[in-house]
Symmetry: C2
Subunit: 391 residues, 2 copies
Amino acid sequence: MKTRKGRAPETAAGALASDIPSAAHAPAGRVTLNDIAAHANVSRATVSLVLRKSPLVADATRTKVDAAMAELGYVYNRRAANLRSGASRTIGLVLCEITTPNYAQFTSGIDDVLAAEGYVAFITNTDEDPVRQRNLLVRMQEHGVDGIVLVPAEDTRPDAMADAHCAGVPCVVAQRRVADFPADYVGPDYAAGMELVTEHLISLGHRNIAFIGGVRRISPLSERLAGFRKALRRHRLKSGPVVPCPVLDRADGYAAARGLFAGEDHPSAVVCYNDVVAFGVMLALTERGLVPGADVAVVGCDDVAEAGLHRPALTTFTTDPRVVGREAARLLLRRIETPERPPEQIVVPPRLIIRQSCGAAPGQRSRAAHAPLHPPSRTPGRRTTARAAHT
Amino acid sequence: MKTRKGRAPETAAGALASDIPSAAHAPAGRVTLNDIAAHANVSRATVSLVLRKSPLVADATRTKVDAAMAELGYVYNRRAANLRSGASRTIGLVLCEITTPNYAQFTSGIDDVLAAEGYVAFITNTDEDPVRQRNLLVRMQEHGVDGIVLVPAEDTRPDAMADAHCAGVPCVVAQRRVADFPADYVGPDYAAGMELVTEHLISLGHRNIAFIGGVRRISPLSERLAGFRKALRRHRLKSGPVVPCPVLDRADGYAAARGLFAGEDHPSAVVCYNDVVAFGVMLALTERGLVPGADVAVVGCDDVAEAGLHRPALTTFTTDPRVVGREAARLLLRRIETPERPPEQIVVPPRLIIRQSCGAAPGQRSRAAHAPLHPPSRTPGRRTTARAAHT
DNA sequence: AGAAAGTTTTAGATCGGTCTAAAAAATTCG
DNA sequence: CGAATTTTTTAGACCGATCTAAAACTTTCT
């Protein structure tokens, strides 16, 4: 296909056509439609039709052109094509924090759907910086993306969004909401998940429940807190302490729980912002001589890989981020297709996963670390599964 | 040029300049150079010069044009620009498995360097499928990327690479090598890291050392095994069992170790492919009644966030993936700059991190789970740091 | 055979920038 | 002041595809 040497005898009529070394058939620079057209003795327009599999062209011609393309090693130039036709088969994905494992799954979901449709994604990282975010959104537009999926940086103002919107680029917000901005949105139903998990704790008899991880100004936090409080309110319970965590990682959860469990009078259950915080919390509990799952119930959110294999295994809830990604991609494609459709909000329901960390069998004080194991499999075993209502 | 409606009152001494809602000044479609030119009473060429900050244009003119651009809300169209000028300020990043946390860091490192240079990256996922990889490489080229960073799928053939290379697109291979393909490469020095960690185990007196995680046909594995064996050979030790792990995750390590430690006669130390496998191994050890760090030494690779906060904390080695990413991006930029330079191989040295899992104080049989904690901080504490020689 | 209808191919404008070479304007100088 | 020089601006080709409208070629039918 590429370098085919000594092809001379082949076309006979074209006698000395190819006594030049390797890339003989290929003109100097990149091979273009014109080169193909010349080589196949048809017009550029015809080649273009073949390229786009138009039914207009005769089979014989098609074959001839295909052969020429193969022989010259033609590579389609989408930029040129797009310049004329408008669409670019390209979308931009602007992430607030690219290293979050959750977002990797999310990205993968987007890529699944887009790749199938022949799209490619520009992916960039704002690092929670609204200024950088602005620049990147502009840059995406300069590159002529057909649409954008945005996981907004903390404190993204609605008017910053309006820019992207005014420029007429379809835009789907995902994972985090931008307050007061009526756009397409796709994200997990954190509120419902928190309600589920809190209800579960209440049903186990807990009355003093703390929340660890409150402080950031991002919608996933406010939604989780809302769900937490809603469940408490339903049972006329008062909220336990809401402890701040600026970073929301392991060390953060550890520090928060060290403080919270310093004295004698502490909550009997802890709802954590996410699994990673919960691991930190459990570490601190152990250090304080408390057994997670027996002395204090701990629940998280996300169901990261570690959750099922940690000891005690972590009760948690999750919304598959890959599913969120797929939904976001599909919604964006729909919007690109029909720009004038009304904004849509897609909230993906959570799944509750009950494990040992909230008290395997309530009242039983087994050493959690020696609790019976369900054999780890590729998909960690789930004892119970619940589905929240779709909003 | 485009359709510009009711623009009449606007220029009347600037009077009503801004009583029209928002995008009033903007012509119907996208604003182009021609629109700016018309609005500023200069030629398209002049606007282009202003755009590219050419010193040729007079200050007065520049100001006038800038004003026009601001007023009409001009968005630069890189695709059009690139079509003419060749370069696209775009690169492709083709990953074998997009959800690997390590690769997220790696990606972030690439993005750091590229964003600073005004590049954007197309990022896609081959899912270890060489066919998909081929298609994606082609698609990148169709989009006219200036270069490609490839983390090759398992079993990538050198000739598959040759395609990308022949088409004249600069290409840097990262993280995994493609056998027999002499291209730019950037990756961690796994061999040196494995040597360090194995030497450490030997120095602690271990003589029967197993390796858990051997079976995949990827260079990170063969390099790690090579380093492992090199250290053993230096001390005239025989290798313990090399146990396969197809998936290289937690469950895999768990399963492998369950088998390995079923009988009485087992290795005294285990070198794991990576940290995650090591966690699975330690779980299995605990189940078998063995205490990791006391009865059996366990070491990993990567220094994932969990490693320092696991109990026992995991001895491991790592090469910051973000650094690898940055190096890869820089090398690619260099190659784009100077296509004819000779291929370069960059191997980033590892850092050894000694923690409790290989026996805090050799001989001491404290319950590892209750071993003293060094307070977790944002960057987990490191007792020892070593640097391998640069290859 | 010639008109009508259908099928295939093509010329040439076009997308929105860049780039070259030359024109126009401003400045300097003998 | 006019020529020489320097600075600034511009017309128009060009990148490589798409797209429209018309031309060229077949086939069908009277």
